[in-house]
């Protein structure tokens, strides 16, 4: 089977993107800004403890966490309902027709394909500057994503117990809830926990673009070079993020939910069945958790002054000049699309490839590993536009700078995932190689990466699709393709151009999603 040749090397293959990067960087860097970067790094040790700064950072953090929590909760509700509605199984059981499931599934692709930042800016135009805007901006695309996962899981679960109930004369909705609910629950909870981490990152990002919370402070302090004040916010955010990740991880372990990288379909199914009973044992705790969550959500919504009614009061649109479609058609579309794609591919290759490379490099030194973990946490923490702004101190604006910013951020996400899953796979094989005198790096490569290669790359394919969607947020650093054109159109209030750009973006994202799905299936099936 030649398909297996070099398996662990595949993991490192994307890191080859470092070669063109190394060739391009000298031409892009302008060196002089290193003193600024140095000042930035040094300020990490001396964050401002001025009560005024600390207070405003804490308030900002509160708003960000609150928005994340509300957006996340709403997205779960939306996702569960829409997920059931777009499940073939549910429609087959309830009405015998399948096409509504397909239709809803296709319709949901659109909200999913548009980044939460764009949802935020669109909603801002429609309903004004409301705290509810950020919440909804997170809930819409996240809800559509959860819906997809829920419906995929529902349709993949074994249906024998459902058939048993149905032949026993139980009505379809009750039978579905009884037979499919318990095996679905651990999957949904595990995925839900992961979404909460994503929601915190998204809420920070929305703040960077003026939708409230700590992101606002971070951007302002960075732009006025007040690095000590900047780090006050960053350290707080880091603490909140690590705390949340620990909590989610702890709950996942406690309720024995499947880990995130169980991407092979068989593995997911099996672990789902095993863990269903364990979750049943933790039912009481779950119920308690949910009961605790509710008042928390209400209190958060109250203190953030999130008023859902405000979402219903649409504002009149600005007086629009007649659309100039000729000018829209005259945009350099091939360049825009090309730049967007190269940015995505470069960022994805770097993020996917560098994570295992770093792990390999620091393998022999426990301290190095801790350093890499710290680097990844910071990467996850930083919204990509802020990384991009920081990179502008030493690099010229453009595709590579944007790609680097996205790559650093996603490296943080991927690296953590890789480390987590490397802890559970291939440990004994690595030991066997070590005890036979092979070097620690080679033992890691042969022993652990062999087993990890396929699921990791499959996840990487999914991540590439996320990066494509995210490429809009680094439009800030100029000349990065569709993203920067989109932000430019936004700040010029050119609605015609904006509409065309969003359409192209959505089409591209859906195409990317389809491609990454195919790649993922091939990787996991092989």
């Amino acid at each position: 089977m030649s398909a297996r040749v070099g398996t662990p090397l595949w993991v490192l293959l994307p890191a080859l993107a470092l070669v063109p990067l190394a060739l391009l960087l000298p031409g892009l860097s302008h060196g002089g800004g290193w003193s600024l970067v140095g000042r930035f790094a040094l300020a990490a040790l001396r964050p401002s403890l001025d009560p005024l700064v600390l207070g405003s950072a804490l308030r900002g953090l509160g708003v960000t966490v609150g928005m994340a929590l509300l957006g996340w909760a709403l997205s779960l509700v939306l996702g569960l309902v829409l997920g059931a509605l777009s499940s073939r199984l549910v429609w087959r059981q309830c009405s015998g027709r399948l096409w509504p499931a397909e239709l809803i599934r296709r319709l949901l692709a659109l909200p999913r394909s548009i980044h939460e930042l764009l949802w935020g800016l669109i909603l801002l135009q429609l309903v004004g500057l409301q705290p509810a805007v950020a919440v909804l901006a997170i809930a819409i695309p996240f809800g559509a994503l959860v819906a997809r996962v829920v419906s995929d899981q529902l349709d993949a679960l074994p249906t024998s117990s459902l058939a048993a109930l149905r032949t026993g004369g139980v009505a379809a909705p009750a039978a579905l809830l009884t037979a499919m609910g318990p095996p679905l629950l651990p999957q949904v909870l595990s995925y839900g926990g992961y979404r909460l981490e994503c929601a915190l990152r998204s809420a920070t990002l929305l703040g960077v673009f003026g939708l409230g919370g700590l992101g606002t402070e971070l951007r302002l302090t960075l732009q006025s070079l007040l690095f000590s004040e900047l780090w006050t916010g960053l350290w707080l955010l880091l603490a909140a993020m690590l705390l949340l990740e620990r909590l989610v991880g702890w709950l996942r372990l406690r309720w024995t939910m499947p880990p995130r990288l169980s991407l092979s379909p068989q593995a997911t199914e099996a672990s789902g069945r095993d863990t269903a009973s364990a979750v049943g044992r933790s039912g009481r705790e779950l119920l308690l958790g949910a009961a605790l969550l509710l008042p928390v959500l209400v209190a958060v919504a109250w203190s953030l002054e999130v008023d859902p009614r405000s979402l219903l009061r649409w504002q009149p649109l600005p007086p629009l000049p007649p659309a100039d479609w000729g000018a829209v058609a005259a945009l350099p579309w091939p360049t825009l699309v090309g730049n967007t794609l190269s940015l995505t591919l470069l960022a994805a290759a770097l993020a996917v490839g560098v994570a295992p490379l770093l792990l390999l490099l620091v393998r022999p030194w426990p301290l190095g590993r801790a350093a890499v973990q710290g680097l990844w946490a910071l990467g996850r923490l930083w919204p990509p536009p802020l990384i991009a702004l920081l990179l502008l101190f030493v690099l010229h604006p453009g595709v590579v700078t944007g790609a680097l910013a996205l790559a650093l951020h996603n490296l943080g996400v991927l690296g953590r995932l890789l480390l987590e899953s490397a802890e559970h796979r291939g440990e004994t094989t690595e030991q066997a190689l070590l005890s036979a005198g092979s070097g620690p790096r080679l033992a890691l490569l042969y022993g652990r990466f062999s087993a990890l290669a396929r699921p990791y790359l499959a996840y990487g394919a999914y991540r590439a699709d996320v990066i494509l969607r995210e490429s809009v947020v680094v439009g800030l650093v100029g000349a990065t393709g569709l993203g920067s054109q989109l932000l430019e159109a936004l700040s010029s209030f050119a609605v015609d151009e904006l509409a065309a750009l969003m359409l192209v973006y959505a089409a591209l994202t859906l195409l990317g999603e389809d491609l990454s799905d195919r790649l993922r299936r091939r990787l996991l099936a092989g």
Binding site: V77, G128, Q130, L185, G207, F209, A290, E305, A479
Partner: protein, 318 residues
Amino acid sequence: MTTRERWAVALAGLLLIGLLPTACSPRTDGNAGADGATSEAARPNEKRVLRIGAIPDQNPEKLNRLYGLVADELSEQLEVPVRFVPVTDYTAAVSAFRTGDLDLVWFGGLTGVQAWLQKPGARALAQRDIDRSFHSVFIANPRSGLTPFEDQSGLQQLKGKRFTFGSESSTSGRLMPQYYLTQAGVALSDFAGGNPGFSGSHDALIALVQSGTYDAGVVNEEVWLSRLREGKVDTDQVVAIWRTPGYANYTWVVQPNLDEEYGRGFSERLERAFTSLSPDNPRQAQILELFGAETFVPASNEQYEAIEAVGRQIGKIR
């Protein structure tokens, strides 16, 4: 049904029942007025909160202090509750003004024009003495060989140099400088590398030119002078090479409907509140100092016709 299944079903039901009300209103109408109604339609008759905002080109600490003081001062003079709403993004600030979520905003020239074009009837209310004839300053690192010049045509020297603007939507950091560059026959593609950089902010720009990252850049004169005063600029490493002609810049822009909301003559009272700020009153003196102004003077939309024309020319206004 096993115990486990019962738990799961109960949980699913509870989640659904429990989460739905969260999505609905957590607040009663009673306190909606107290902490600031969030939309025009929901305003009760009692005096509602006047919301002021600013586009961000100052550091956040100063922003918070400055606008806290302004809010207190206005609240006292006009006898209405006033609250400062921070907005980070130029685009977001303009949109929030259009949708009526901000009543009074301290806009830059370009964003001000965008704001009243989007909200017919809105107008420029008052501005600082220096805003009537505002200037940008082209600065350069001496090592680049660039030297100060008097005539606009001297901008030709910048061809082939590494050049950076400030933020993309900034009037003083991009729009007007770009206009003067074009007038002098310098296209954006004439810079080294085929395009200019964007440093993101005035402070970053000064630091980057000083360090030699860029040969030259252009900065808001007010920021430049205040950094010189604060001693934050190394004058051996960065010098001013040309000061642009004056143009109208920052201004308070006010919603058209405030007289209906707060009673006739409210806008005039608001204007007077600014124009009567005097250095003799300690708090007012502090406000003037933080704004970097001697006094505030009345402003009008007509002052900004040149900016609007430039905005249209380079596509930032449609």
